[in-house]
């Protein structure tokens, strides 16, 4: 079934407006808002990881490391000068960076308003630069070996960040805090609470545009068959490096957003567990589907931090206290759900499919085909 282009466009505008209205109305301090913000941030990182793992076929596990680079750069640049002494109370701060920050804060008004965004972009660029350097040796490896190498890189980054030698910059194991919240955009037209969604939307849109471009097709060719891609004139190293650098850029931006969200970061925030969380998101969403990654980022965040919390509280039914229901039990339930997905829906929610209005309008028909027949069979049962 094909739907008219204009209808689709109207639907998209309406859906976008509804989402935006919902976000504007939501209380910025509510739990729902916090969860959705985290979902949006993880959606960026998941999409960038999917760009690498799902679309280029490079099994990389370095996400946490590149996120920490983006987060630390963003945090370092955005912490207000007046809070610096409170943050670096233990070891003091590098005078060069302090002088730079003072100069930036003394700058003209337009600079201070775009400064947080510059910080995010710089965080992304720094992550991309590190990826470009590391990519040269590491991208010659394939599959599992690449995963192990990138995992190692991520750990090295974490170790460097928390090392005493970096104390004057990263504040060592104390981490950075007093990071300002999300900035407003367009002179307050976009309130601070909506900013992460807007940035996430732009990042994901850019990645989707990339995937649908000629370069994106070359990435997919590498995923499908390296030998054939090479025989078709695709320069393997160039395109792998490109995917790795771009993915790391968006991961870095996602890390910067996470720093603004958490308001305080340290090296432990970016442990391997974070990479696994994101890997889970893309596996559940479907490796090779951007829609899947975004959907699943929200789904996983909301279920893990939201309604699964129910299992963490003691539950008493009619005077009988249900055993197992205590702090940490939700993670057990979450893991079981995850195993179920991996066992029964190996291709995730979306497989490699993407969102389209055609599919949405086709849903009623699909349900009818799937369940209607069953109902009919049940109905004529004598």
């Amino acid at each position: 079934m094909k739907t008219k282009k204009s209808t689709k466009r109207i639907c998209s505008v309406l859906a976008f407006a509804a989402l935006l209205a919902f976000l504007y109305l939501l209380d910025p301090n509510s739990m729902t808002m916090k969860l959705l913000q985290k979902g949006a941030i993880l959606a960026v990182v998941a999409a960038s990881m999917n760009l690498l793992n799902g679309f280029t076929g490079l099994f990389s596990l370095g996400q946490a490391g590149f996120m920490s680079i983006g987060a630390y750069i963003t945090a370092l640049l955005t912490i207000p000068v007046k809070s610096l002494d409170g943050v670096y109370y233990a070891g003091g701060m590098s005078e060069g960076i302090r002088a730079f920050k003072m100069a930036m804060e003394a700058g003209p008004a337009w600079l201070t308003s775009v400064y947080p965004f510059l910080a995010l972009i710089l965080g992304g660029v720094a992550a991309a630069l590190v990826a470009a350097l590391i990519g040269i040796p590491v991208l010659r490896l394939k599959s599992d070996y690449l995963a192990i190498a990138t995992l190692g890189v991520s750990e090295i980054i974490r170790a460097v960040v928390s090392s005493p030698q970096m104390e004057k910059i990263t504040n060592g194991s104390y981490g950075l805090n007093k990071i300002p919240n999300f900035p407003e955009m367009f002179g307050g037209a976009v309130p601070s609470k909506v900013t992460p969604f807007l940035i996430a939307a732009v990042c994901i849109a850019l990645m989707v545009l990339l995937i649908n471009s000629s370069y994106g097709r070359a990435f997919k060719a590498i995923r499908e068959d390296e030998t054939a891609a090479e025989a078709m004139g695709v320069n393997l190293f160039k395109h792998k490096e490109m995917a790795f650098v771009i993915s790391s850029f968006f991961t870095g931006v996602g890390g910067g957003l996470l720093a603004m969200y958490l308001r305080s970061i340290d090296a432990k925030t970016f442990s391997i567990a974070l990479t696994y969380d994101i890997l889970l998101i893309i596996v559940i969403g479907g490796i090779g589907s951007m829609t899947g990654s975004v959907l699943s980022a929200f789904l996983v965040t909301v279920s893990k931090e939201g309604f699964l919390r129910f299992f963490d509280e003691t539950l008493t039914i009619g005077g009988w206290q249900v055993p197992l229901f205590r702090a940490g039990f939700r993670m057990v339930i979450f893991s079981i759900l995850l195993m179920a997905v991996v066992l029964f829906y190996r291709r995730g929610i979306m497989g490699t499919k993407e969102f389209s209005w055609d599919a949405v309008f086709g849903l009623p028909g699909w349900f009818k085909r799937k369940f209607g027949r069953k109902a009919a069979r049940g109905g004529d049962g004598r």
Binding site: S214, Y215, R217, A218
Partner: protein
């Protein structure tokens, strides 16, 4: 000054102690259809892989339009291990990656079909067009190269029309019937705008009727695209009908060369294929 399109000189490919291709020298001229035949394991596909840059040869040289595209001599450990029968001196070490060779104008198909299985038929051909893209990453992402993209699409669709797949363009490549997949692989190779087309067993697994169609098809694209064709094939009907010349190799070594009629009557070739009766 030779006018060969493709020329192999003493090409030897040795894996550890196994000499897969031993001092193979051959030449393919402009506009010819040349076949490389031989029993299973004779080293035909290995020879193709050397020409297309998948493996650097242990010794020897490959020229394309009289330009050295691949060249090597035994080095390092191979100096001692080397068991090839020729020792031509090829000083230059030229080992480009396969994509560079494709850009020079040599396209290939694979013995076991290697399509981009989960991508559509059209995307499969478009990927081969990516190699000549002028737009950088930025303009491709922001669709500033709409004209170029349209041209890529148009020429890809034109190719699909030639192979009779224009109606299947939005289908996933792996859903095509086997014979069509072979055709798609050839269309994809043609999309790189080659001067020389290497076909690795194009008729493998085809029935006699499909093979006949393929014979006509190869002839037609050869004329339409001004190609030189170098192919590996087991279907003798196809080989004998279509080839201008045939090279026969066995255990990596060339054992015969000539027109189909000459090769068919050559006792050495018959012995290689059917075995020799102990006297």
């Amino acid at each position: 000054m030779s006018a060969h399109v493709l020329e192999l000189k003493d090409v030897t490919m040795q894996f550890g102690g196994v000499v897969a291709v031993d001092s193979l020298s051959l030449a393919v001229d402009e506009g010819e259809i040349v076949a490389l035949i031989g029993p299973n394991g004779a080293g035909k596909t290995t020879a193709f892989n050397v020409v297309t840059g998948v493996y650097p040869p242990t010794n020897g040289e490959v020229r394309f339009h009289d330009r050295v595209i691949v060249s090597n001599r035994p080095r390092g450990k191979m100096k001692k291990l080397y068991a090839g029968s020729s020792r031509g001196v090829y000083t230059a070490s030229v080992a480009p990656s396969p994509d560079r060779i494709t850009k020079l104008g040599i396209a290939r198909t694979f013995q076991n079909i290697r399509l981009f299985k989960d991508l559509t038929v059209l995307e499969n051909v478009l990927i081969a067009k990516h190699m000549n893209i002028k737009a950088g990453l930025f303009s491709a992402v922001f669709r500033l190269n709409a004209k170029e993209e349209r041209q890529m699409r148009e020429s890809a669709l034109a190719l699909l029309k030639i192979v009779g797949l224009e109606d299947a363009r939005d289908e996933v490549a792996s859903s095509l019937p086997y014979g069509k997949q072979r055709h798609l692989e050839i269309a994809r190779a043609l999309a790189t705008e080659p001067k020389l087309l290497l076909l690795d067993e194009p008729a493998a697994g085809m029935n006699p009727q499909e093979t006949d169609e393929l014979t006509a098809f190869i002839r037609r694209i050869k004329e339409d695209f001004h190609l030189t064709v170098f192919m590996i094939e087991h279907h003798m009907n196809l080989v004998m009908e279509i080839s201008d010349r045939i090279y026969v190799i066995d255990f990596g070594k060339q054992i015969a060369e000539g027109t189909p009629a000459q090769v068919q009557d050559n006792p050495v070739v018959i012995a290689a294929y059917l075995g020799v009766e102990e006297a």
